[in-house]
Amino acid sequence: MGSVAYPLVVALWLLPLAGAVLCWAFGPRLRSACGWLAAGLVGVSFLLAVASWGSATQNLGGVLGAHQPLVSWMPGFDFGLLLDPLSLIWTFIITGVGFLIVFYSIGYMDGDRAFARFFAYMSFFMFAMLTLVLSDNFVGLLVGWGLVGLASYFLIGFWFERRSAVAAARKAFVINVVGDVGMMFAIFLIVANVHSIGFGDVFAAAPGLSDKLVFAICLALFIGAAAKSAQVPLHTWLPDAMEGPTPVSALIHAATMVTAGVYLVARCAPLWNHSGSAQLLVATIGGVTALGGAILGTAQWDIKRILAYSTMSQIGYMIMGVGVGAYEGGVAHFFTHAFFKAQLFLGAGLVIHALHNEQDIRAMGGLWRRMPFAFWVMLTGVLSICGVPGFSGFFSKDAVIYGALQHGHPWIYAVDIVTAGITAYYMFRMLFVAFLGEYRGEAAPDRAGRESEHGTHAPGWVMNVPVAVLVVPSVAVGGALMFGGDNSPWSRFFAPLYGTPSSRAIAVPPISEGVTSLVVFLTVIAGFAIAWQRYASRGAQADAPARLRRETERMPAVLTNLFYVDWVIERLIVRPAQRLGELFGRVVDPHVLDGAVRDLVFWARWLGTLVRSFQTGLVRAYALILVAGAACFVVYYAVAAGLR
C-alpha cells in the first residue's frame, strides 16, 4: 500500500545510516565535523518524520499508515517499512531526542581520541533503532533488534581499553542475544503456523490460533522484550551498561533502546489481547522489575547507576502498562520518560563532566551553588519522574497506574503506588546528596582516557542548549497531550490502533482516577519527606560525611549484592559451561575420541609385530608353517570331497 510519504519514510530510515558510513569512512579527515554531520542528518530525518505525520495516521484501504514492501526473499518473506502512529511516536523520540543528545555529545565528547567513531556508532544506533520500529515484519524487527544490541555493545565498550567497559559490553551483548534467540523461536512458531512473517498477516491470523500457541508466541517474544528492556531476570546488564559515555546512557539505555520491549508488546497487542495469561505474565514481570529496580535504586551511590535503576523501574511501569492492556498508557509513559530521563542523564552528564568524571554522589554535595543550571535541570527532571501533578510524568504514570485497575489487576495497581513512593525517595535522595549541603569531593584525579581529557571546564552552550530544550517537554508535554482521558489528543491519536482506553476497560474501577492520583501524590510526598528527613534536614546536613559513611557500612548485603542475581547466573550457568569446556577440550577430545583412533593404530602395529614374529629366519620353521597350512588345505578338501 504505497503512499506519497513513503519515500520520505525510506529516506528518514536511511539518513542515519549514511551518517554512520560517512563518519566511519571519513572520520579521521572530517574530525570534529563528524559531530555536526551526524547531528544534522538525524535532525533532517526528524523533520522528515514530522513531514510524514499525515501519512502515518491516514487509513488507506484498511491499512493504517504508510506501508509498502521493499524486497522479497521468497513468498511470505517480504520486507518493507511501516509507519503508523505507534512507530511514528518512536520515530519522533529516536530522531528528536536523538538529535538533541547527539548535539549535546559534540560538546561532551569534545577532544576524545575516538570522536568520529563515537558519532558513527550513534548514527548507526539510530539507523538500527529505526529499522526496529519501522519494519513491517518480525524478521525485520529481529534484524533491528540485533543491530541495536550491537550498537549498544559498541557504545558501552566505547572506551575499550577499560576492562570493566569491555566486560560490561560483552555481558550486555550476550544477554541480548538470549533475547534475540527467544524472538527467533517466536518467529519459528509464527512461520510454522501462519507461513508469513508480516505483522498484518500474523495479526489477522491471531484469532484463529490456539490459546496455548498464542501464549507460547507471546512468551518467546517477551524473552526478547525482557532482555532488551532489562526486565527481571535479564536486567543485570543495564546497570553495567553505564560504563558507556553519558550521552549513550541517555539515548540508548534510557530513552530509546531499552524501551524496545514496550514497543514490541504494544506492536503485538493483537497477540496479547488473545492471551490473558500472557498479559498477566508480562504485567507481573513488569511489576517485579519496577519494584525491584526502585528498591535497588535506594542503595546506589553512583549517580548514573541510580538513574539506571530508575530507568529499569520506569520501564517496569511501561511494561506493566502495555502488559495489562493499557497500551497507550504504557506508550505515554515511554514518551514522557524519554524526555525527563534523557534530561536527567544529560544533567548528570553536566555534573560528571564538570567534576571530571566523578560519579559518586557521596563525593559531591552543594553543587546547586556551583552549577545552578544543572541543579534546576535535575530538579525538574526529578519532579517529573516522581509524577508530581502538572509535570509530564504525572499524566503518563497516572495512566499506567489507573490502567492497571481498569483492566482488573488490583495487585499491580498496589505495587505501582508503592513503587511511586520509593521512586520519589531515591530520586530526591540523589538530588539532595548531590546538590545540597557542602561540597565533599576532593578534586578527583583525572583518570586518563576516560571521558574528555581536559579537566574541569564549565559546560559550553553546546551542552546546555539541548538540556534546556529537553526541559520543556519533560515538564509540559504530558499536560498538553494526555489530559482528559478518552478525549485527550493522545488517546484519539491511538484510537485507530487500540480503540479508546475505557472502551477496552474490563472492570469499572471502584476507585476513581482522581482518587488514584491523590493516593499516588500522597505516597510521593511520603517518599520525599523521608528523603528530606534523612539527607536534607538541618540535622542530616550537619554531619553528612559521617552519616553517608555509616549508611554505606550499614547497607544490607542483599541490596549491595543486587539480590544475588549476577551471582546465581555466574554459578549456575557461566562456570558450569566453562568447566564442561575444560573437560571436553582437555580430556574427552585428546584422550577419549582421538585416543580411540590411536588405539587402532596401536593394534595395527601389534598385528604387524605378530605377523613378523613368524619370520624367525629358520628354514625349518618356515617349512613347518608351510606344511601346517598345507595340512589345513588337505583337510578342507578331504571334508569338501566328502560333503559334495
Binding site: 575499550f160 581499553e161 576492562r163 550476550v174 518467529i187 510454522a192 559451561a577 571436553f584 577440550g585 575420541l593
Partner: protein
C-alpha cells in the same frame, strides 16, 4: 569446455610453479593471484555449462563429466574467491612451493565440486587431500598432524570408494550427480549410504570424527587453512546434498535422526570447547565444528527451506571462516603469537584490522544483516517446520554460546589495555585489506539478499 579450463588452469599453473627454477616471491605471487582471478572469471563465464568424456563402460558407466549445478556453482565460486584472497595473502617461507600447492588444492577441489560423476568425485576426494598433506608437512607445526589429517580423511575416502563401486555396480552408472535420477532403494541403499556418510562426516567434520580438525586448522598456515576450513570442509556437506539427498533420499530420511543427533552434539560440543580455548585459531576451529553441525541438522531435516538455508549457511561459513583465519594470520604475523592470554589492545593501533575481524566475528555469531544470520534463520525455520523441536532448541543455545566465545575472541585480541610487551604494530596496509575485503563485502551482500543464491 570452459569448465574444463577452469579446473585444469590452476592445476597446470601449480605444476608450472613447481618447475619454476628458483624462489622468486614477486613472480610467484603475481602468477598465483593472476591465475586465481582468471579462474574466478572463467568459472563465472562457464556457468552451468558441461563437458563430458567417456571413461568406463564396464563394470559401470563412468565419464569425465564436469559442470556446475546450481548448488555447486556457488560453492565453486566461493572456492575460487577464497583461493584468490588466500593466495594473495600468502606470505610464508618457500612461497613458490606453497602457492603451487594452493593452486593444486584449488584445482582439485574445483574438480570435486564440478564433478558430475561419482567416480570422478571419489577421485578428487582423495586427490584434494594431497596438497593439504604437503602443506601440513612442509609448513605445519607438527608433521604428525599431517599424518593424522591424511589417515582420517583417507579412511573416509576408502569407504567412499567402496560405496561408489557398489553404487556403480548396482546402478550401472556413476554419471549421476546433478541429474534427475530415480533414487536408489533396496537392501543395499543403507549400506551404500553408510559408506558415503562416513566419508562426509569425517570431512565436515562432525562429532566424534572431528579430532583431526583442531590440530590441522591450528597447524596450517593461514591462507591454506582459510581454504580448507572455508571450502574443503564443505565437501562433505555438498556430498550429503548432491549425493545423499539426491541419490539415496530414503536412506537419508531413514537415518535422519542419528545424523541430526550428531549435528546437535557437534553444535554444543564445539561451542563449549571454544568458550575456553586459549589459541585463537583453535577457537575458530571448534566454532566451525559447532557451526557445521547446524548444516548437518538441516540436511537431516530434509525440509526445503532448511536446505536453502543450508546452502546460504555453507556459503556464509565459508566466507567468515576464511576471513577469520586470514585476519588471525595477520594478527599472528604482527604479534608472533595467537594466544589470547598474551594479546590485547591491538584495536587502538589497528582500527582496520579490528574492524575487519569484528565484522567477520559478528557474521560468525549470526548478527542479523550478515550472511550467517540469514542461513541460521532459514535453516532453523525449516527444521522447526519439519517438526523437529529439540535440534532447534540446541541450535539456539549454541547461538548464545557462539556470541560468547566469538566476542571473547574479538575482545581479548582487540580490546582491553594494550599489552606492554607486544611490539609496535602497523595496521593492515591496503594490499592486506584488499585480501579480506571481498569476503567481508560478500558477507554483507549475502546477508542482506540471500535470495540471490536460489534465484538463479
Amino acid at each position: 569446455m570452459l569448465v574444463l579450463v577452469t579446473i585444469l588452469l590452476p592445476l597446470a599453473a601449480g605444476a608450472m610453479l613447481f618447475a619454476l627454477p628458483r624462489e622468486d616471491r614477486s613472480v610467484t605471487r603475481t602468477v598465483g593471484v593472476a591465475v586465481a582471478v582468471v579462474v574466478v572469471v572463467t568459472l563465472v563465464l562457464a556457468g552451468t555449462s558441461e563437458w563430458s568424456f567417456r571413461w568406463l563402460s564396464r563394470p559401470f558407466q563412468a565419464a569425465f563429466h564436469f559442470g556446475a549445478t546450481p548448488t555447486s556453482f556457488w560453492i565453486a565460486l566461493l572456492l575460487t574467491m577464497v583461493s584468490a584472497c588466500a593466495i594473495a595473502a600468502s606470505r610464508v617461507a618457500r612461497l613458490r612451493d606453497f602457492v603451487a600447492l594452493m593452486l593444486l588444492l584449488e584445482g582439485t577441489m574445483l574438480g570435486l565440486f564440478l564433478a558430475r560423476d561419482l567416480l570422478l568425485f571419489a577421485l578428487f576426494w582423495d586427490l584434494m587431500l594431497v596438497p593439504v598433506f604437503f602443506g601440513l608437512a612442509g609448513w605445519g607445526e607438527h608433521p604428525a598432524t599431517a599424518w593424522r589429517y591424511f589417515i582420517y580423511n583417507f579412511a573416509g575416502g576408502l569407504t567412499l570408494l567402496l560405496a561408489t563401486a557398489a553404487f556403480g555396480v548396482i546402478y550401472g552408472s556413476t554419471d549421476v550427480i546433478g541429474r534427475a535420477v530415480t533414487p536408489l532403494v533396496g537392501a543395499w541403499a543403507p549400506w551404500i549410504y553408510a559408506g558415503f556418510a562416513f566419508a562426509f562426516l569425517v570431512k565436515t567434520p562432525v562429532w566424534p570424527l572431528h579430532t583431526w580438525m583442531p590440530p590441522t586448522y591450528s597447524g596450517l598456515p593461514p591462507p591454506m587453512v582459510a581454504v580448507v576450513s572455508a571450502v574443503q570442509s564443505k565437501a562433505g556437506l555438498y556430498g550429503f546434498l548432491a549425493i545423499g539427498l539426491a541419490l539415496l533420499p530414503h536412506a537419508v530420511h531413514d537415518y535422519a535422526t542419528p545424523l541430526m543427533a550428531l549435528g546437535a552434539v557437534s553444535l554444543l560440543y564445539g561451542a563449549v570447547i571454544a568458550l575456553v580455548q586459549n589459541d585463537s585459531k583453535r577457537i575458530v576451529a571448534y566454532s566451525s565444528l559447532s557451526h557445521l553441525g547446524l548444516v548437518a541438522i538441516a540436511i537431516g531435516s530434509g525440509n526445503a527451506l532448511a536446505l536453502r538455508g543450508a546452502l546460504v549457511y555453507i556459503i556464509a561459513h565459508g566466507l567468515f571462516s576464511a576471513a577469520l583465519f586470514l585476519l588471525l594470520g595477520y594478527v599472528e604475523e604482527r604479534e608472533d603469537t595467537r594466544l589470547l592470554a598474551r594479546l590485547g589492545g591491538i584495536g587502538w593501533k589497528n582500527p582496520k584490522l579490528a574492524g575487519a575481524l569484528c565484522i567477520a566475528a559478528l557474521a560468525a555469531l549470526g548478527l542479523p544483516g550478515l550472511a550467517g544470520f540469514a542461513g541460521e534463520l532459514l535453516v532453523l525455520i525449516g527444521v522447526y517446520q519439519a517438526g523437529y523441536v529439540w535440534p532447534v532448541i540446541v541450535a539456539l543455545v549454541a547461538i548464545v554460546l557462539a556470541s560468547a566465545y566469538l566476542l571473547r575472541l574479538y575482545q581479548d585480541l582487540m580490546n582491553g589495555p594494550e599489552e606492554a610487551d607486544v611490539p609496535v604494530r602497523s595496521d593492515l596496509n591496503w594490499y592486506e585489506a584488499l585480501t579480506v575485503a571481498p569476503l567481508l563485502a560478500a558477507l554483507v551482500i549475502v546477508g542482506v539478499y540471500p535470495a540471490a543464491l536460489w534465484h538463479r
